[in-house]
């Protein structure tokens, strides 16, 4: 799996450029970058022979000839940003990253409670938050997280001291400009929520135009004892984009972590979620919706690691695939030997709207404790004929019935997005995506649902 020489040279040059401009950065980061580089050069991109990548070929990324995006980024006004962000919401913090770089003039910073720090990650490294090294050294590294560590230049750093709660949601918008050549960005975010703190973070990924590009993001979250972290992710990359993202969370005792995810865009996308319930009584919710049409390939690779007793996890992923799209879901649940009284439930359902669409679903339960409740269920198939007939037998025409059932299937997941502005915006996007959308909209309007 060694890298083709051209790819290797490109990433090496990029590594030199990034490292070269970061000479003053802490030595520990330099070391992490070097280690990541060594691993990446040795392993290269995984192939489908690798168990974790069995259904997802990476040729589009490997052969993509991506270079770092330029710093110009084109002309964008705050009004453009408002048009891209979901809905109208006066009270929110917005940090905009254009082509991987923080753009303060496009961002909206509001006052934060004392004890909350929100800023760019590069600013935090080497400064007063230099003790961050433990949060950068993760065990669950992949070729892509290594690539991110090697090449990351910016992202968000959020730090909440004990008992600090941020009332407004924090939006992080990662936007890619149309570019003449294939470009890439490697955003890196770090969220450290102290004991009994609380915050809502929305990561939104969007592309302007249909040029090919590659986004490879990593977000690490540490939720302290009794902290509440709600994370939302809305991926609406351009139609030719490759999007790879890792969300890694470590939870302390009694903490609550929710990761909601809506994957609507990109030609090739892969989202890894890795949550470690590392303190008694922690709760974790993974709730995701993915839509694919055309030739989209959308892969979700999730791991919930019950490391301590009496933790609960809930995982719901629904996928809707049309045309020749392919969806992949892997749901790994690990229950460690000491994690008694674990309560874990997982559901993955895939709706196939065309004969050529495909879904691969793989639950993977590894249970090493005996006093646990673990369930999983997976279904894949077309719309239920019984439901369709039931609706039609009540006078609802076939196209409307299909559209409504499709909408309802997806909305089961979106209803759990407990951030109303984002939820309605996603429901609008969903409606626009559904093949029989006009009739569904009429139904919702007429019935006032």
């Amino acid at each position: 799996m060694t890298l083709p020489a051209g790819t290797r040279d490109r990433y090496l040059a990029e590594f030199e450029r990034v490292g070269g401009s970061r000479k003053g950065r802490p030595a520990w980061l330099r070391r992490l970058r070097d280690e990541a580089l060594a691993r990446f050069l040795a392993s290269g991109f995984p192939t489908v022979k690798h168990e974790d990548w069995k259904y997802t070929g990476l040729a589009a990324i490997e052969q993509g000839e991506f270079e770092a995006a330029g710093a110009d980024g084109g002309d964008l006004s705050p009004a453009d940003i408002a048009g891209i962000l979901p809905g109208e919401e006066a009270d929110r913090h917005v940090l905009v990253f254009l082509d991987g770089r923080y753009r303060p003039e496009l961002s909206t910073r509001r006052d934060l409670p004392s004890g909350a720090h929100l800023g760019s990650l590069t600013g935090a490294l080497g400064g007063e938050f230099d003790g961050l090294v433990p949060y950068f050294s993760r065990s669950a590294e992949t070729a892509f997280t290594d690539l991110n560590t090697m090449l990351m230049e910016d992202g968000v750093f959020l730090h909440l001291a004990k008992d600090v709660r941020v009332p407004e949601p924090i939006y992080l918008l990662f936007l890619m400009s149309p570019a003449a050549r294939p470009v890439m960005a490697h955003p890196r975010n770090l969220i450290i929520a102290g004991e009994n703190s609380g915050v809502t973070v929305v990561e939104q990924y969007a592309g302007r135009g249909d040029s090919g590009y590659f986004v490879n993001s990593v977000t690490d979250i540490s939720a302290g004892r009794d902290a509440t972290v709600s994370h939302f992710r809305f991926q609406e990359e351009g139609p030719s984009a490759c999007h790879v993202a890792a969300l890694r969370a470590r939870q302390g005792a009694g903490s609550r972590f929710a990761a909601h995810s809506a994957s609507f865009g990109a030609l090739l996308s892969r989202h890894d979620v890795h949550a470690v319930l590392d303190g008694e009584g922690a709760e974790c919710l993974l709730n995701g919706l993915y839509l694919g049409n055309g030739r989209q390939h959308v892969d979700h690779f999730t791991t919930i690691d019950h490391a301590k007793p009496s933790c609960a996890s809930r995982e719901y992923f629904h996928g809707i695939l049309n045309d020749r799209a392919r969806g992949v879901f892997r749901g790994r649940v690990i229950v460690r030997k000491d994690a008694q009284k674990t309560d874990a439930r997982q559901t993955n359902r895939n709706l196939l709207l065309s004969k050529e669409s495909e879904a691969d679903s793989r639950p993977q339960l590894e249970i090493h404790a005996d006093d646990v409740k673990c369930t999983h269920g997976a279904t894949t198939g077309p719309l239920d004929e019984e439901k369709l007939f039931y609706m039609r037998s009540r006078g609802i025409d076939e196209a409307s019935a299909k559209g409504l059932l499709t909408y309802a299937f997806a909305d089961e997941v979106l209803r759990r997005f407990d951030l109303p502005v984002l939820r309605s915006a996603l429901e609008e996007k969903l409606l626009a995506w559904i093949p029989e959308t006009r009739r569904v909209q009429e139904f919702l309007r007429e019935t006032g649902q």
Binding site: F389, Y390, R392, S393, G395, I396, D397, D411, L444, E446
Partner: protein, 262 residues
């Protein structure tokens, strides 16, 4: 009870998954009549109900079904519903994500639009539903839940009768609505159906047991066996079946081709 039949089934043959179920059913239902279709399990009762409602899983191999003079078999199920046919399901389907009230409203709008009637406004609609829901003694809370989602067996059946009461079809088919109901629920369901009896409406009650017919008294009783109507009579036939079982009616009563006309 005169004039042309509302529903006229002739020599109907139907199969499911390649397996023949109906083997030449003849039946006419006029407006104002209540017909009971009885028969042992596997005799084709539910198939008959579903073929009339338009379920595509069933393949019609021969025969005809005319409804108000039109070829029913060429109409898609939604068209049949809008023309006034209603099937109360034996196993009502759960539809997560669509609230019961929205579903009722969409169904009623579809039917009313088709009949050239104004859609009801929110107040009128709510008033109507709340009135009809009392009839079936159903918990109003269930209106705000998703259609049949997590409903008990009895609640699902009541919900079917609520839909029936709201949609006011011309021809109502009850497919084993009594199955799984205790006697109190059965009485409530029967009361709801009886209130809909009218000279303009035809009702077909499909049931395995005589019990329901104590409360919904039919004008005609037909016995279906091995895909054919083997005997037809008045309500006394149902009582006789209860006493003697289905064993004695197996031979097709070919004297009148199984036709239900006395």
């Amino acid at each position: 009870m005169s004039g042309n039949p509302m529903l006229s089934i002739e020599n109907l043959h139907a199969a499911i998954d390649g397996k023949p179920i109906l083997r030449g059913v003849n039946l006419s239902v006029r407006a104002g009549e209540v017909h009971a279709i009885m028969g042992p399990n596997g005799s084709g009762k539910s198939t008959l109900a579903n073929v009339v409602a338009g379920r595509e899983r069933y393949e019609v191999r021969a025969g005809s079904v005319r409804y108000e003079g039109r070829d029913l078999l060429s109409m898609p199920p939604e068209e049949r519903a809008k023309e006034g046919i209603f099937l109360a399901f034996q196993h009502p389907v759960e539809i997560p994500g669509v609230t019961n009230l929205s579903f009722l409203k969409a169904a009623l709008n579809a039917v009313r639009k088709h009949r050239g009637l104004q859609e009801l406004d929110v107040v009128e609609f709510r008033g109507m539903v709340l009135e009809r829901i009392r009839l079936v003694e159903m918990d109003e809370e269930l209106l705000l839940r998703a259609v049949n989602d997590g409903f008990s067996g009895g609640e699902k059946k009541r919900n079917e009768i609520l839909q029936l009461a709201v949609l006011e079809p011309k021809l109502a088919i009850l497919d084993e609505t009594d199955s799984g109901l205790d006697i109190d629920a059965l009485k409530v369901v029967a009361k709801g159906v009886n209130r809909l009896r009218s000279p303009e409406r035809g009702i077909i009650v499909v049931t395995h047991y005589q019990r329901l017919l104590n409360y919904i008294v039919p004008d005609f009783v037909h016995v279906l066996s091995e895909g054919q109507i083997v005997r037809s009579g008045g309500r006394e036939l149902a009582l006789e079946l209860e006493e003697r079982g289905y064993g004695w009616v197996h031979a097709p009563d070919t004297a009148n081709g199984g036709e239900a006309r006395p």
